[in-house]
């Protein structure tokens, strides 16, 4: 993740140049994401899986940066990599991972699961192959510098006016509250 990368993109696009660096970054980040995604589902040890997942998350954050979504990338790092993954590691340490890493790793119906996933993959492949024409072959240049402000406007609205997603935002905060209470009640021995 080169922080100067998005800046490079802007400059290259502005200058009418082909952003030659972009494909390289894309392939590196995409390869990293998929490779560590494979590691997530194949490792015996849950801590290794978690570390691989962190790599995936950071790579996806890099892809967000390439998509002119710096705020989402920041949220991805701070919430996913810094928050959720610490929670995961915390739980992994609390539960007995050593026993489970010595046991059978895949459940008895794993062929069925794999077949279902392959069917899904086939669906995706056919969709992408058939519907290729549906996707305009374009990537719009989003205003990167005011990205945060625009998202804020959509979430909270402007002076005196509710934003498009203000209500949804409030619902989301309620969801988080419920989740906090639920987690506390389930895990605390004595309340």
């Amino acid at each position: 993740m080169n922080p100067g990368m998005t800046a490079g993109l802007t400059s290259a696009v502005n200058a009418g140049m082909t952003p030659v660096g972009t494909p390289w970054f894309f392939y590196v980040l995409a390869g990293l994401a998929v490779a560590s995604g494979v590691a997530v589902i194949t490792r015996r040890n849950a801590v290794h899986s978690a570390l691989a997942l962190i790599v995936t998350l950071l790579a996806v954050a890099g892809l967000y940066l390439m998509l002119y979504a710096p705020f989402v990338a920041g949220v991805q790092i701070i919430v996913y990599a810094g928050g959720i993954m610490v929670l995961f590691l915390f739980v992994i340490m609390l539960v007995n991972i050593d026993r489970s890493s010595k046991e059978r790793q895949f459940n008895r119906i794993w062929p069925v699961g794999l077949a279902a996933a392959c069917a899904l993959l086939a669906l995706f492949v056919s969709t992408i192959a058939k519907g290729k024409a549906l996707f305009p072959d374009r990537l719009m240049t989003l205003p990167e510098s005011s990205n945060t402000q625009q998202i804020a406007t959509m979430l909270y609205g402007e002076a005196g006016k509710m934003g498009q997603y203000t209500f949804a935002f409030e619902i989301a905060s309620l969801l988080l509250l419920v989740a906090i209470l639920g987690a506390v009640i389930m895990t605390k021995k004595k309340i």
Binding site: M93, L94, V95, D98, K190
Partner: protein, 394 residues
């Protein structure tokens, strides 16, 4: 916690039979997986030597402790049976090496009592001065290490700087700093050197502001208060039941000090107070010891200005051969009641010598004091008990 870690620790303390020990029960509503057994020590920065404490934890909460001692056992009591009374005198310094003078005083007075001789008045005064200096030095060492355990680094260096002055006086008096061997049976070996009184008075003038300095760092420090108030509480009744003595007992509100209760040496001639606490928590013990240092300074001041002239050695034979009999004599060492029980068969060597070390007895209270507290409090409580492993293990 994961099994592989607890497996390892289940093996470690296997040399102790813990089958019949009650650690208290964790919350039974769940199959609890959080019990963790930790070996604290014998190599640990905060166990003041080679104490090993087996902690049973629920998360960080202490369910029970068990002290494993003996890593510094040298068989002092057995050695005593093979040494003459005089030859054994230096050994007692090696028990509580932080308060060697007090140990020597207790031993010499016990043998004197057994032989029915009395040290001359001047010797008694010298003994009081040195013992009280030693008390201050011991408390300084305790304060520094106790504060370090709780995380305050700086007091350690301040106390060691000031303890140095006391050790210098010891060195000038008897040539040794730590294991002083200052007293002999029947009195003192050495007359005070020229300028002894001046040195002691200088020290008192030097030290009075230093206590204020320690207190400025700690006494009203918010973090210090939070770490010590209501931590390791023990009641006076529990103290008495367990035989706990010294500052621990006094901090629990029991006004018991052998210097007043059974005056020995020349203590009956001095005017001083016994500081006591109310709550019996770590903070009270800290305050009691700080006040004790000030009281010790009072005693030294009176002793130094009123030191009588005269001989320093009583009438003792060249070969010390106490009559058949037994004696128990105890003094108020810095850490509590230090007692010597000597059985004599009339020969030059004790038939049996038994030491009642204050640290050893006080350490029993550890389990009572730390149950239900957190790991960090165990450290604070071990510090506040003020143990010296040389004395615990002997």
């Amino acid at each position: 916690m994961s099994d592989r870690t607890s497996d390892a620790s289940n093996r470690a303390p296997s040399d102790v039979d813990r089958s019949n020990l009650d650690y208290g029960t964790p919350d039974k509503t769940y199959l609890d997986s959080n019990e963790l057994i930790i070996n604290m020590g014998p190599q640990h920065p905060a166990t003041h030597g080679v104490l090993r404490v087996i902690l049973k934890l629920d998360g960080e909460k202490v369910l029970g402790t068990e002290c494993v001692i003996g890593y510094l056992h040298r068989g002092v009591e057995k050695i005593a049976e093979n040494r003459t009374y005089t030859m054994f005198n230096p050994y007692v310094d090696r028990m509580d090496y932080c308060a060697a003078v007090s140990n020597g005083l207790g031993y010499c007075e016990a043998v004197e009592k057994l032989m029915n001789v009395e040290a001359p008045a001047r010797a008694k005064y010298i003994r009081v001065i040195l013992t009280e200096l030693q008390r201050i030095a011991s408390h300084q060492l305790w304060l520094g290490t106790h504060a370090l355990d709780i995380g305050a680094m700086t007091p350690l260096f301040y106390t060691f700087r000031d303890r140095e002055e006391i050790l210098k006086i010891f060195e000038r008096y008897c040539g040794a700093r730590l294991t002083t061997h200052a007293f002999r049976i029947g009195g003192c070996q050495y007359e005070t050197y020229a300028g002894f009184e001046k040195d002691v008075k200088n020290f008192l003038a030097f030290f009075a502001p230093k206590i204020d300095e320690y207190e400025a760092l700690l006494t009203t420090n918010r973090i210090w208060l939070e770490r010590t108030k209501n931590v390791g509480v023990i009641s006076g009744a529990d103290c008495i039941a367990l035989g706990v003595t010294g500052p621990l007992l006094r901090a629990s509100g029991v006004k018991w000090d052998l210097r007043k209760a059974q005056p020995y040496a020349a203590y009956s001639e001095f005017d001083f107070e016994i500081p006591t606490g109310v709550n019996g928590d770590t903070y009270d013990r800290y305050m009691v010891r700080m006040k004790e240092m000030r009281q010790s300074m009072r005693i030294i001041e009176q002793a130094v200005s009123g030191i009588p002239e005269g001989p320093i050695m009583g009438k003792v034979p060249k070969v010390i051969k106490p009559p058949v009999g037994e004696i128990y004599h105890s003094i108020e060492a810095p850490k509590g009641e230090l007692g010597y029980f000597i059985v004599s068969d009339g020969s030059t060597q004790p038939y049996r010598l038994r030491v009642r070390p204050p640290s050893f007895v006080n350490l029993q209270a550890l389990d009572l004091m730390v149950r239900g507290l957190l790991v960090a409090d165990v450290i604070a409580v071990i510090g506040t008990i003020d143990i010296v492993l040389g004395e615990v293990d002997r």
